[in-house]
Symmetry: C2
Subunit: 621 residues, 2 copies
């Protein structure tokens, strides 16, 4: 059996129904994700230049004496480089870029050269190791080194970085645990890394340590998702990973409860998470402001990671739905179309003004973040850019899965795959077009018995249709996996029609920011109105007629090629008088034409106002 | 000429049209404010006990050697005691409470005993004076000492504390200024205090220093109100005070611009200010969330102080409207009906759950504030309770004003006043009843020439009516002062009918939290729906029928006597499915009866949900 080079490796995980497909066993064809990955590859090259310029790599080199300089940057930048390594590794799984491979090797040399004899690696702490785990991020950084090493090993078979990671993990085992240091990093992340390292090295002791770290928090007592969004999600990812590898029912109940809290009361319509700037936190139930959303790019990525782990356990389509939503909207918005600028904060509405509070910079600890929400070539806190890099580079690994029964199609993208004894080609203009055509290219000799293809039928699709070899099947249920069980033969054809009718969504009435407003979704994409498409109209004040037709149009010339949605809007003829006014004052309105673009693509043209939620006129109560 | 014992003293201020009326020259009659003041008097007594228990007074005593103990509490608690002194002094202007007078004298002795030979007074800093004005609050505390000393002197004619304050102010003059220390406190407040001290002592040098402190910020460059709400307001109050005393046109333009920013884009419908927990700040334009409003009680009080200073300049009724709004809603909500509990944070919607983020306490600098928004007998940061004390105790000083032309009636409350040569009695059930009856009790010998009474016609009143001695005048213009110029005689009667028709308000469409929602106002009061009045109904999800009649009813039995507003609401029969759902899904609704109570009185019964803004069904776009 060949090594499983997927984004997670659960073939020996007793609580997992699904396994991942090696990133390199998926060939991307021209299309949406191939474009995004190409842009991401450019971003990976650009980001390393900036990390070098900021001293992030030199911080490692100085520990081996290769560079004579003071350490530079924030104390957790090691994790940025580890995420960059992971992204570069996944990129090499699909693109044979020799220059990138060489740069990656150099960077890995720098990391290995910085490792202390006892296995400790961290450029910010030396004699004062683990002095304050509430702020130091030492274990969080270690977790990212583990993930980077695993990805690098899976893609290249080179075990140098994996050995470095293993030495660090062994150092952690010798340092933390019952009777040793009995605390954990305030920023989770090491747990996912330890579990994955354990899977890669077939060593259960790393899983044990991960579980012990997680138990430093009373997860059975957590009734809600609370606190720093990314920390909460990464913590939950760690729980989910331990559930996958142990099948622990009590732990599974805890993580399912946290998941429910995420999706039932604390998610943006984009799949993004984090309603509160203060503490970068999820906030209270239904605390989901639009203009002042935090919705950190890393938190959108956290949803993808978490949903993937939940999906592996039992193959629940609701997890794939959520993964798709967060990936295409909350995470993807973090990267510019060109791939070389990244956002940190992702509001769902923006005035377009460069409003900036001159006093806010005085608030220690937050001053680095108080920039308007825009994509930039660099951020002083650099967590998001390389997180986007590693996610987008590994997207091929999220498209498919396997189980004892056969092959699973989680996300639809133009690609070919070879897994579970089958070779398939998926031809589709997804997420723009309704149609997905799947062809069986070949069937391995050992796989000629009946086996299943599991096709995800997205929950957002009201009227899906499926045909096998032109024979129409009964309409499948949205929000499920449709199992097609047969003896597949080369040449078999499946066609899937996922009608992408644009749809107006309303929010739960407890979400005060969305009362009386609608958001437009088409397929997996959430839409927004940008000022640049509406000259002379303030999109933040415009209304969308509740009975408006919503008409999709493919625009090859726009934003790298997108489907826009046209709608009929309304606007006040006279300005609103002041800040509050009588509800009974007469209001004259006039129609305006609205053109909505995918949210992930906003802010790639001129700076201007944007909103996902549009005031609805004539909405029912 | 007798001393002007009002809340400000502008008779020598070249930029002031109005002067205040001595607090002690107003006699409150039974009614709304007499009740609130009586409750406040109980609160003043209760708060001193708590300040003693927390060591706030002992912090002063220890400096004179009277107490041998470590300093206790936060580094800015001196200001709490100064505000308490100010509140107690104003209270003594209307209530001859000998026990309180004795306690006040003791406290003042403690303060005076703590003054250093060079005039410096601060219990938290000694050898490290002025080491870090970005955090120390030393000048902010000084400002409150000045205000306390002025109030105490005005009420009692005792000049001991005033002398102490003058020594401190002289010390500041010797320490700060051109060629000396050239920075200012990051928390404004000293400026108002210095100006008022200058007025009280007829010493322009304190005004000069106040202006110099204000100039440490580029106020001409401030296009918006930004940053910490209370700081921004107190800064603006300082500017307004300097404008009053200098008539400086450029400075006036700066403060008017800040005022416009306040009322046009940064005020809650309650008059409250501060949309953001982070930094306790005003946030961006239209950033006015309800459930996560900060709207600190002190910020509501800051609006009153600021509006009062704007009003003194030119007698603009819009400032009196704003003062009334903030006083009756944003400030008054900070005090429980019994007077002995205070709120710090004042949301406009509340789940009623004791939701508390277990991780949020880790955020240094904010952990003291992360309590649910409820009134409590004490707060670790105690700025608000004594701020309420001093405001409510001085309310008689805000009712009336004088100018060269005559007597101004700013706020209507059952009371008698003697000012501008006239003795008046105002008989009214305001803010519950429409009717205000004003009787001229007597006219001083020197005041028998024609002179004016200026009656404020509130902007919220759509159909005001006035009669003098039963003769109806043409309807006055809402949002103005109606000038009645005549030779007044004892027995003259004015009746004012300020129709208090309950009205539904909508917010500017840029206020995302209020889209599709209405708030109910009746007279100067903003209303809310509380769970306790709606068993079995979730007030946070209920809708208010846009065509609902709004019916006022006096309820003597409720909340110390309030007028409630009845309305017809709607609610969903089936729960909303999830967090987001199709706008076109059918929704069954059923009617519910709504009973709204004044916002200031919420959370005086059982803990439960509350909302000011109600989703409106059938609202026009």
């Amino acid at each position: 059996m060949t090594a499983v080079r997927g984004v997670t490796r659960t073939e020996a995980s007793r609580g997992a129904r699904l396994r991942s497909v090696p990133v390199g066993d998926v060939t991307m064809h021209p299309g949406f994700w191939a474009d995004r990955m190409a842009a991401n590859d450019r971003g990976i090259v650009a980001l390393l230049e900036r990390l070098e310029a900021e001293g992030v790599v030199d911080n490692f080199r100085r520990l081996s004496g290769a560079v004579d300089a003071e350490r530079r940057g924030l104390w957790f930048t090691d994790s940025d480089l580890y995420k960059w390594i992971e992204g570069a590794a996944w990129s090499l799984a699909t693109v044979a870029d020799e220059a990138l491979r060489e740069r990656l090797d150099e960077v890995i040399d720098a990391v290995i050269g910085a490792q202390a004899p006892d296995g400790y690696v961290n450029t910010a702490f030396g004699d004062d190791r683990y002095a304050d785990l509430t702020t130091s991020h030492e274990l969080y950084c270690a977790g990212h080194l583990f993930q980077a090493a695993v990805a690098h090993h899976r893609v290249t078979d080179d075990d140098r970085l994996l050995a470095c990671a293993t030495r660090l993990a062994d150092h952690l085992r010798a340092t933390f645990g019952p009777g040793l240091r009995e605390d954990a990093d305030a920023h989770p992340g090491v747990e996912m890394g330890l579990v994955e390292l354990g899977r890669e090295t077939a060593d259960d002791r790393y899983l044990t340590l991960a579980g012990w770290f997680l138990d430093r928090v009373d997860h059975a007592g957590l009734r809600e998702l609370w606190g720093h969004a990314v920390r909460a999600e990464y913590y939950a990812c760690g729980l989910a990973d331990v559930v996958l590898d142990t099948g622990d029912d009590a732990l599974e109940r805890d993580v399912v409860r946290m998941w429910s809290s995420l999706v039932d009361t604390r998610s943006y319509v984009t799949g993004g998470v984090g309603g509160r700037w203060l503490g970068e936190s999820v906030g209270r139930r239904y605390e989901l402001p639009n203009a002042s959303a935090y919705a950190e790019t890393c938190a959108g990525i956290g949803v993808v990671l978490w949903a993937w782990r939940m999906l592996q356990a039992a193959g629940g389509a609701e997890f794939a739905d959520r993964l798709e939503l967060a990936l295409h909207n909350a995470a993807l918005v973090g990267m510019s179309l060109a791939g070389d600028e990244w956002s940190y904060v992702n509001p769902l509405a923006d005035s377009g003004d460069d409003e900036q509070d001159p006093w806010m910079h005085d608030l220690a600890g937050f001053n680095l973040l108080f920039l308007p929400a825009r994509r930039r070539p660099f951020h002083p806190v650099t967590c998001c850019p390389p997180n986007v890099n590693r996610l987008v580079a590994s997207v091929p690994g999220y498209l498919y899965g396997t189980s004892a029964e056969g092959l699973w199609l989680h996300l639809y993208a133009a690609s070919s795959v070879r897994a579970a004894g089958l070779g398939l080609t998926v031809t589709t203009g997804y997420p723009w077009s309704d149609r997905v055509d799947i062809t069986v290219d070949d069937v391995a000799a050992g796989a000629r018995t009946p086996r299943s293809l599991f096709l995800r039928i997205p929950g957002w699709c009201a009227s899906p249709a499926v045909a096998v070899n032109d024979e129409h099947l009964p309409p499948p249920e949205p929000g499920t996996y449709l199992e097609l069980h047969r003896s597949w033969e080369a040449g078999d054809r499946i066609s899937l029609d996922l009608a992408m009718t644009p749809e107006a969504l309303v929010a739960h009435p407890r979400v005060e920011a969305n009362r009386g407003s609608v958001a437009i979704r088409r397929g997996p994409l959430i839409y927004c109105a940008e000022a640049v498409d509406h000259p002379g109209v303030d999109v933040l004040e415009v209304g969308l007629a509740a009975d408006s037709p919503l008409v999709a149009e493919w625009r090859a010339d726009l934003l790298g090629g997108v489907t826009v949605v046209h709608a009929r809007g309304t606007r006040r003829v006279t300005p609103f008088p002041g800040l509050y006014a009588s509800a009974s004052a007469p209001v004259a309105i006039e129609p305006v034409d609205l053109t909505l673009v995918p949210y992930y693509a906003w802010a790639n043209r001129e700076l201007g106002a944007m909103t996902v939620w549009l005031a609805a006129s004539g909405l029912r109560p």
